[in-house]
């Protein structure tokens, strides 16, 4: 089955510590992957996409096809990074494109 796996439900770190949110995928085609974020009382929004290879709010994510992973990293966590993070895969099937989400990881950054 084609899917997205986020193994950690919760990740708790202290301010200034490095953060790595894990995402693994299972997909037979060429993957397009995304990270979405939902801050408290805000709507779900796009954080970054692997195609753009950019850093947003200090976060980066590298697609590793050998390990089928797309982990989200930040060298120094800030309290304002506390949020729910969802990894998403754009499945291509029969001419349609289906955005498929993982279950999410809750990141808590302590002061």
């Amino acid at each position: 089955a084609q899917r997205v796996t986020q193994p950690e439900k919760l990740l708790s770190v202290f301010k200034g510590a490095p953060v790595e949110l894990k995402c693994n995928y299972s997909y037979s085609g060429s993957p397009e992957l995304f990270w979405y974020v939902q801050y408290s009382r805000q709507r779900l929004q796009l954080l970054l996409r692997h195609i753009s290879r950019e850093s947003i709010k200090g976060f980066t994510a590298d697609l590793n096809k050998g390990e089928t992973s797309f982990h989200l990293k930040k060298p120094f966590a800030q309290e304002e990074d506390s949020a729910m993070y969802y990894c998403a895969l754009l499945l291509s099937s029969g001419g349609s494109y289906i955005p498929t989400f993982g279950r999410g990881t809750s990141l808590i950054v302590h002061p």
């Binding site: 709507r43 779900l44 969802y86 754009l90 494109y97 955005p99 279950r103 999410g104």
Partner: protein
């Protein structure tokens, strides 16, 4: 630009009753999605529209759920009759085209079925 609008924000109903949710996507966005998010899980796609045509509805429980997007703009998702397991947040999202994974989400409609 105005974001994706959804209503109602909250709804509480008894099981076997019916409920409808409304979504107005961002102007000019051709693709509209309805996701179901049960507590502790990620969003699960129910149905995807491209303009007013259905692209994918493979995970929509068609015996009780229905959705339409008349005129390719607003959309309505209906549940009739509701079950306890339908308690969830119903998220509407839109995107400029169907081949992009860049979705813009609404605030969601939280349904509680008693």
């Amino acid at each position: 630009e105005a974001g994706v609008a959804q209503s109602p924000r909250y709804k509480i109903i008894e099981k076997r009753q019916s409920v409808a949710f409304w979504c107005n996507p961002i102007s000019g966005h051709a693709t509209l999605y309805w996701y179901q998010q049960i507590l502790g899980q990620g969003p699960k796609l129910l149905i995807q529209f491209q303009n007013n045509g259905v692209v994918d509805d493979s995970q929509l429980p068609k015996d009780r759920f229905s959705a339409e997007r008349l005129k390719g703009v607003d959309s309505t998702l209906k549940i009739q009759p509701a079950k306890l397991e339908d308690s969830a947040v119903y998220l509407c999202a839109s995107s400029r085209e169907y081949s992009t994974g860049e979705l813009f989400f609404g605030e969601g409609s939280r349904l509680t079925v008693l």
